[in-house]
Symmetry: C2
Subunit: 402 residues, 2 copies
Amino acid sequence: MGALDGVTVERVSDRTFLMHLGGKIEVNATVPVKTRDDLSMAYTPGVARVSSAIHDDPEKAWSLTIKGNTVAVISDGTAVLGLGDIGPEAAMPVMEGKALLFKEFAGVDAFPLCLATKDPDGIVAFVRAVAPTFGAINLEDISAPRCFEIERRLRAELKIPVFHDDQHGTAIVLLAALMNALRVVEKRAEEVKVVVVGAGAAGVACTEIMLAHGVRNIIVCDVEGALDPGRPGLDPVRRALAARTNPTGGRGMANDLLAGADVLVGVSGPGAVSKAAVRSMAARPVVFAMANPEPEVRVEEVGDDVAIMATGRSDYPNQINNVLAFPGVFRGALDVRARTINEEMKLAAAQAIAGVIGDDELHADYIIPSVFNRDVVKAVAFAVSRAAEASGVARRPAPAST
Amino acid sequence: MGALDGVTVERVSDRTFLMHLGGKIEVNATVPVKTRDDLSMAYTPGVARVSSAIHDDPEKAWSLTIKGNTVAVISDGTAVLGLGDIGPEAAMPVMEGKALLFKEFAGVDAFPLCLATKDPDGIVAFVRAVAPTFGAINLEDISAPRCFEIERRLRAELKIPVFHDDQHGTAIVLLAALMNALRVVEKRAEEVKVVVVGAGAAGVACTEIMLAHGVRNIIVCDVEGALDPGRPGLDPVRRALAARTNPTGGRGMANDLLAGADVLVGVSGPGAVSKAAVRSMAARPVVFAMANPEPEVRVEEVGDDVAIMATGRSDYPNQINNVLAFPGVFRGALDVRARTINEEMKLAAAQAIAGVIGDDELHADYIIPSVFNRDVVKAVAFAVSRAAEASGVARRPAPAST
């Protein structure tokens, strides 16, 4: 096939490009408009009564419009996969992919909105303006540190969830993996030493959720070495994180800090840690090398030296993939019309993902369920909706069971 | 049915409300994600190559994303149907209805975005930011005079069509109706006297398109009477219109001005013209009373006194309904990836709608085709795409035939 719909595809045998022709999602009607009667209900004049009812009580938008099941996937295209700042048009295939995963995995209608602005004020104003249309906002692939400010301001302003998936989706799955890894190696969260390599959006969020879970000894490092409160030039988010981590006052670079560590959380890039440094870790070390597509250290290099290894790749065991988290998190939040996605809901999601693997199945090469395990989204959605209700952010009750 | 999906419906037998539960559109995947292979093409890692290709050549977004078939339906909820400024949540059912008509009539994917801002600068900034995602912008139910400024600025800035349907969709169908009405009453556009009652968004656009078609003698009036260049307090849009209309210097109110007129174009509200004024019109008068749901003057009152009458209602002959125009206009514009929707394209659309009715079918009670006549969208799309190509605003050639 050399041309389809007028489009010439250079690599005629490229299945990936052919799959993308025309995009990956569509907008369909859920009601018929075949007759005048249909038209007079779905559009004028009948629709005027529905609009009036919502005008009288805006909460009715949750039931009488798409709002209650619809998420905006919003990106400025500045931190897309490993590609960096590639712009809004180039970000679209990723955001469409996200939207189709929302629908296929969780029945959530999601629509991608890729923006021609990188200005935090502009992005905040944009999301604030479009919020009436949606039940929740998924921020995606917005570079740090702007992503922190944008999310913080929107969370404070809006009465619907705002969730930066690169931070919190990654963090939830990481925590699920950590919970199960510690079950396998028989260590306690309160006692392990964790080194986080990478202090971008994912590194900050992974650290925050581990702290919330009860991990006490975490050292975060970036290319300049360990974060500590005295280091000059830290932005407010990282300065605050430095104040809550590194209780032993460790100094130096990632490879130095790994000596005696129980857990490595890599959210950086290939080559960020050395084989020798991994070998200097404590007994039964756990390595999460999440850089994609090339991990911080290769499985072939250190697999024999570690007790458990997980990566972002699907061709090795233990894939840490956001797809395990975001569909169920948003499903659960929408199910109870949550006002926000809070720490309790994120911790509940991690616990639910971890809990899908029973004690009899748990194994060093099976600490994370498959992305195609349909139990995951159900368990996550249920746990998130219950946690939303228990923490007082649900507009309506959680379901009684999955 | 008293409750559905947790929602209590007060009027349990109300089919219109039941139809709206959960909204009227959904977002679906067009590609499968059932296997790891699917996932690795539609999402990471395969999608990275597609994003890179678009980064290298942003024009590829037209073929490798949803952009080429997707329209944003954008409203601030300030001028919704006859309801006025009801806000973004209450506008959603109307915009969802619009989106489903786009899909059902023209195969165009449309997504509603209802905004929590009325500020022209804010709306312009919003649309400018979201433009990379879409192939065209449909502005909807934004009140005058802000709608004029917003559309003018966006048309100047963006390289995709920006079309305020309340203006131009209405104008296109009105012109189609006028063309066929003049065929029936055997009068020439260059010679008729037209009185436009109402100088809002639709009134301005109807006047503009009639001028472009060659009508010379048009008097526009609002609640204060005829527009003329000397009238104080006119905004720039209406002042410019006043300068190009009313060549005979007519003064007074609508009812006075109708004496001897050949055509009444009502884009105002019920009661805006009197039965006596309609009786004062020229021989074989044509009355378009488009206010909805109640026309400017009722068919029962003047039907016997006029040669042709058309309204916005579906329960009388000759329904002037935007649904005849916007699906085909956007279909045609997207088919050639048009940079804009210009006067040539609008005139071509009107001609196409009028042309669907053959000489042997044309009749005083059948000057406008049915909204369910599937020939209309095909004819309009073809005419619009050809006009786009001929006027130099198409990115690719128009189809050779419908």
